[in-house]
């Protein structure tokens, strides 16, 4: 028989029971869509998260902390034991880190908790301030636009994380340079520009001050390139020092406590000459009694976790697909049973057992292909919708640079091929029944 005649004949037999056929195809379609959606989301999410960390020179950096027990990634460092022997991160520490082999720079950083939120000029939205005071920033973070501030700058010039551009709908990073932002402090802020009460002010005035916030204007001088830390705002270390150091009015005049000198830096960002040098440097840092967090460790852990999640999601979809294939077995067995006489007619006219089997395999193939293609398309668009939703959620959490790519065509094709393969495999038993039991 000619190949096209096989297809026509198989198709003809399928459509003799249109309702049953449509229901079987629908089951394959839904399972196939589920498979494409879950597998694609699992893969693209992992790729996007890993890609997010791989942006810029993130993989070449090591975050150094004073606590030597801090050494894991996201998941390993969630619980930290108190390290009483932890030394302060001082300029001397920075100097020691700079001298380690393979280190190109060591940038001290201080988290400025005194600045609670900030808003852009002319924009009503206020963002939680994740402000880092830093020095030597230019060597550690490449910029998309503008320049880094002067390290010794005591004026409020800031470098903005790239993620805020997306939140504000700004496509050109350069256009953000020169704009101003207004920081709002925590209540009772006593750092630079705060109008602190005089030592002899009334207790009511002091209480009012303790509840008040200070607004500080700052100018954007630069915007970072997209990276894993898109939601941070960088300020000059000296200005940060002025913000973080509380002032107190005394009868002899105003006094100020240098918090950084007292507590040390929050952490030091070490940049390695290459990604390959990172593990060795991290080991050397730990040898100094300091904690070292590398992004590579975090990526490894994300990969491990996402593989487990991917296997679970894929298994769920596969079980669904196998269930649908049982529908094909049922449909074909009913068809064999109902068409017993037709099979006998074909046999009497000279059809071989192989020819009869082949017709049932082609029926399953047609059902599988139609279901897989429809499911693949539904899955593809479902993925895009879900990805868009995930991006929105991530964006609202400050991960603006994390963009999920559309499902890859290779994944789509593989899922569809698997659906067709399972559908055709489902035809083995009915085809055998048709060829052996009916034709004898």
């Amino acid at each position: 028989m000619r190949p096209l005649d096989y297809v026509r004949t198989a198709f003809r037999d399928i459509i003799t029971q249109p309702v049953r056929c449509v229901l079987t195809v629908a089951a394959i379609t839904l399972s196939s869509a589920l498979l494409v959606t879950l597998v694609s989301i699992g893969i693209t999410t992992r790729e996007a998260v890993v890609g997010h960390f791989e942006q810029g020179d993130t993989l070449s950096t090591i975050m150094v902390s004073a606590n030597s027990s801090v050494g894991g990634g996201f998941f390993g460092s969630s619980i930290q034991a108190t390290d009483t022997s932890a030394e302060k991160l001082t300029d001397e520490t920075v100097s020691r880190l700079e001298k380690l082999r393979g280190v190109t720079s060591a940038t001290p950083q201080v988290s400025i908790w005194e600045l609670r939120s900030f808003a852009f000029d002319g924009n009503p939205t206020s963002y939680v301030s994740n402000t880092i005071a830093t020095s030597n920033a230019g060597t550690a973070k490449p910029l998309a636009a503008g320049t880094w501030f002067d390290n010794a700058d005591k004026t409020p010039n800031i470098v903005l994380g790239n993620g805020y551009l997306k939140a504000l709908g700004i496509k050109d990073a350069q256009s953000a340079v020169g704009r101003t932002v207004a920081f709002t402090s925590v209540q009772g802020y006593r750092g630079t520009t705060a109008q602190i009460p005089a030592w002899n002010a009334s207790s009511q005035a002091k209480a009012t001050f303790d509840r008040s916030r200070t607004t500080i204007a700052a100018t954007i001088v630069g915007v970072t390139r997209p990276s894993a830390n898109d939601n941070q705002v960088y300020v000059p270390l000296e200005w940060g020092r002025a913000v973080q150091s509380p002032r107190v009015s005394t009868p002899t005049g105003e006094t100020m406590t240098d918090s950084i000198a007292k507590n040390g830096y929050s952490n030091v960002l070490v940049t390695a000459a290459s990604q390959d040098a990172v593990p060795g440097i991290a080991k050397d840092i730990e040898g100094l009694g300091l904690g070292a967090i590398t992004y590579q460790k975090q990526i490894d852990q994300i990969n491990q976790l996402s593989t487990v999640v991917w296997i679970i999601l894929g298994s769920v979809a596969l079980i669904s697909l196998i269930s649908a294939s049982l529908g094909i077995v049922n449909t074909l067995l009913m068809s064999v049973s109902e068409q017993k006489q037709v099979i006998q007619i074909w046999r009497a006219c000279g059809a071989s057992k192989r020819m009869i089997s082949r017709l049932y395999f082609i029926q399953a193939f047609i059902i599988g292909v139609v279901g897989a293609v429809a499911g693949g398309l539904i899955g593809y668009f479902a993925c895009r919708l879900i990805n868009a939703r995930i991006e929105t959620v991530l964006s609202s959490q400050g991960l603006e640079s994390l963009q999920l790519p559309p499902p890859s065509l290779a994944v789509l094709a593989a899922c569809m091929a698997l659906s067709v393969l399972i559908a055709v495999t489902a035809a083995f038993y009915p085809a055998r029944v048709a060829a052996k039991k009916i034709t004898g």
Binding site: M1, R2, D5, T9, R12, T16, Q341, V342, Q344, I345, W346, R347, A348, C349, G350, A351, S352, K353, R354, M355, G440
Partner: protein, 222 residues
């Protein structure tokens, strides 16, 4: 008439399970171009015998030779022989109900790999020959019994078989329609020289044959 044996059986036995024999050693020969009628009461094994001759069933024992040689080995070769050399007409017509009349006649041609254009042409000619030229596109299930049997005959001779076997071809038809069917079969036999084996209850039909083989209780009795 040729002299080569189209069908030759020796001690053909057919049984379904132990002690349930339907044929007890059938020996018969049918020569090329012969018209043979097989008669006998119900349950005598006529249909079983012709199903074996038509390669629709396998004997439990004995030897069957078709067209002067033993049967080829394997299902594909046997199916090919059935497709190309043997036509079978059933008592209950056995048309695919949801196919058109034309499509039904095309089935053996399609199995043989003949192109759609050629098989349509051939099937149309045959259907005109049996008087169904005006119902080509009608569904088989919409035809009368006589029309369905004529379509069945057209399908049986589609591949121009050397051997045409008809199992009670008039059994489900009234006498007038049965006569028409018999006329078509004898015309094919005479004009094409096709060897014809007809199973029948009817003595009138049997008398048209060159030779009558009688069966009783699974045995050939004359």
């Amino acid at each position: 008439m040729g002299t080569q044996a189209v069908v030759s059986t020796k001690n053909i036995v057919k049984s379904y399970g132990k002690g349930n024999a339907v044929l007890h050693g059938a020996d018969m020969t049918v020569q090329t171009g012969e018209f043979v009628a097989i008669t006998g009461p119900s349950g005598s094994g006529k249909s079983t015998l012709v199903r074996i001759l038509g390669l629709l069933d396998q004997p439990s024992g004995g030897t069957l030779e078709l067209f002067g040689t033993g049967l080829p080995k394997g299902d594909r070769a046997l199916s090919r022989l059935r497709n190309e050399a043997i036509g079978f007409v059933f008592q209950d017509y056995r048309l695919v109900p949801h196919y058109s009349v034309l499509e039904n006649v095309c089935v053996p041609l399609k199995i043989n790999g003949i192109s759609p254009r050629k098989r349509k042409k051939r099937a149309s000619e045959l259907l005109k020959l049996v008087g169904l030229g005006d119902v080509l596109e009608r569904k088989a299930s919409d035809l009368s019994g006589g029309q369905q049997q004529r379509a069945g005959i057209a399908r049986a001779i589609a591949m121009q078989p050397k051997l045409l076997i008809a199992d009670e071809p008039t059994g489900n038809l009234d006498s007038e329609t049965g006569e028409k069917i018999l006329k078509i079969l004898t015309t094919i036999h005479k004009s094409l020289g096709t060897t014809l084996i007809v199973v029948t209850h009817s003595e009138t039909v049997a008398k048209r044959a060159d030779r009558i083989i009688r069966m009783q209780d699974g045995r050939l009795i004359g």
